[in-house]
Amino acid sequence: MIDVSTLNLEPFILSFKLASITTTILLLVAIPISWWLSQSRCRCKPFIEALVSLPIVLPPSVIGFYILYALSYNSPLGAFLQEQFDITLVFNFTGLVIASCIYSFPFMVQPLQGGFESLDKSMLEASYIAGKGKFTTLFRVALPNIKPALITAIIITFAHTVGEFGVVLMVGGSIPSETKVASVAIYEFVEVMDYRQAHIYSVIMLTLSFSVLLSVYMFNHKHNRRIGIQIDRG
């Protein structure tokens, strides 16, 4: 039997803390950006879209390396923060949050942008005609009508942050209670050939990830069935 009381839950707590903070920050940043992307006809749009999606295709080690370099004392930015404000952003939790935000950004932006783009354009125009500006239209008409996309974006971003490994390892290292998240902890167990612990941690991660995805798909399935009824009646 596995004795749960001896299990060190700290890496999990750290993972979930990191994911919660990252998701909250990204939600606030991604809503205006994805709204702008969905509405804009600006020529620079493809450029911004490509930039936003970059973390999906880049190897985590590349992102990790550049973030590490940018935040370290060797770069002008890192040096400036260190000298002016005495802030260090590598190998600590704050640095991890910054890295996670960059890494998980497309997972928040893309579902939201897709949701906004699928909205009936006349509905948004009706809001402008009613005298409401872009801001009111976004929060009172657009967002309430893309709930499935919003929930998908939040949960996928959260899950993706919990599951990240490469970037976290490069930027944060493995400092217990500071940067040693669950995925890094598993890697270390395997490295020292403690397969038992690695198994326990992995099973917990697997179960959590599966439950999260299952809940998203179940929610969307239910919602689509409701929309189906709407179309039948319409």
């Binding site: 009936d120 006349s122 509905m123 125009e125 009706a126 809001s127 402008y128 005609i129 009613a130 005298g131 409401k132 500006g133 009172r140 008409v141 309430p144 009508n145 009824i229 709407q230 009646r233 319409g234």
Partner: protein, 284 residues
């Protein structure tokens, strides 16, 4: 008084063309715009609403909406717009849809009462029928007491019964509020019933501007009935041929001779006409 003098390049389904509209509309007037699809009717409405850009001038009651150096944003134009596909806010109840435009509860109640929607005021749009949704959309357009009401084929997605009901509502609301109205429509009976003036737009230009009667009663004078229809089938029974033709919402049978039956084929657009010397009219 609305003065419109605009020019806009269009890339339509029938190639590039120029929308050139020079038009004055008096207060309280109900103008219907007819014409082929892709002739620029909807674009004209959208330019008036400020949803699309254009060069030229639009002045409404002395207020400049569009000029060389000024474009009044849609939000400040104070218009009502009824879309073909209702465009209700799906997350809001019927009443909330109206109150979103203006907080005037009295006005909302009055409009809902006038169009017999009071019972449905707490329902979400997707639980309503198409006709009910369009009535809500109509009420919503009146909520801001608009200077100008624009309607883009408001009844084209509805069945004949519902159209009749909506026409009645539109006419009643127009009489009550006297809102200057521009409606795009393909339906002659609707235009005849509602509008006081009709414009025909072809290839981006106004080709006719007269009363609906003058434009729609084409055979005025010769006392002839003339309908456009589609030939559905030709049935032979003994020596006669019967053409089954759909006219609007009705299917009729017309006897034709053999020569005609050879000339016509399924799917042809046809005109059915007759001299009507003494048509009889009976009340339904």
């Amino acid at each position: 008084m609305i003065e419109i003098d605009i020019c806009k390049k269009l890339h339509g389904s029938m190639g590039d063309m120029e929308l050139k509209i020079d038009l004055d509309i008096a207060k309280h007037e109900f103008v219907a715009i007819g014409g082929e699809s892709g002739s620029g009717k909807t674009t004209l409405l959208r330019v008036l609403a400020g949803l699309e850009s254009s060069s030229g001038d639009i002045v409404v009651d002395g207020e400049v909406w569009l000029s060389k150096d000024r474009v009044l944003p849609t939000q400040q134009r104070g218009i009502g717009f009824v879309f073909q596909e209702y465009a209700l806010f799906a997350n809001m109840s019927v009443k909330q849809n109206l109150l979103y435009v203006s907080k005037d509860r009295k006005m909302a109640d009055k409009l809902l009462e006038m169009s017999s929607l009071s019972q449905l005021k707490d329902r979400l749009p997707h639980t309503l029928s198409g006709g009910q949704q369009q009535r809500v959309s109509l009420c919503r357009a009146f909520m801001s007491s608009p200077k100008l009401l624009l309607m883009d084929e408001p009844l084209s997605a509805l069945d004949p019964m519902m159209r009749d009901r909506l026409q009645h509502d539109i006419s009643r609301l127009h009489r009550e509020f006297g809102t200057t109205t521009i409606m795009v429509s393909h339906d002659p009976s609707e235009i005849y019933r509602l509008a006081s003036r009709m414009l025909l737009i072809e290839q981006g230009e106004i080709t006719k501007d007269a009363s609906p009667k003058e434009i729609l009663l084409r055979s005025n004078g010769s006392q002839k009935f003339s309908f456009k229809g589609e030939l559905l089938e030709i049935v032979q029974s003994d020596i006669i041929y019967v053409a089954i033709i759909s006219i609007g919402q009705q299917i009729v049978e017309v006897v034709i001779d053999e020569a005609e039956s050879r000339e016509l084929k399924k799917g042809d657009s046809v005109t059915i006409s007759t001299k009507a010397f003494a048509p009889s009219i009976s009340k339904l």
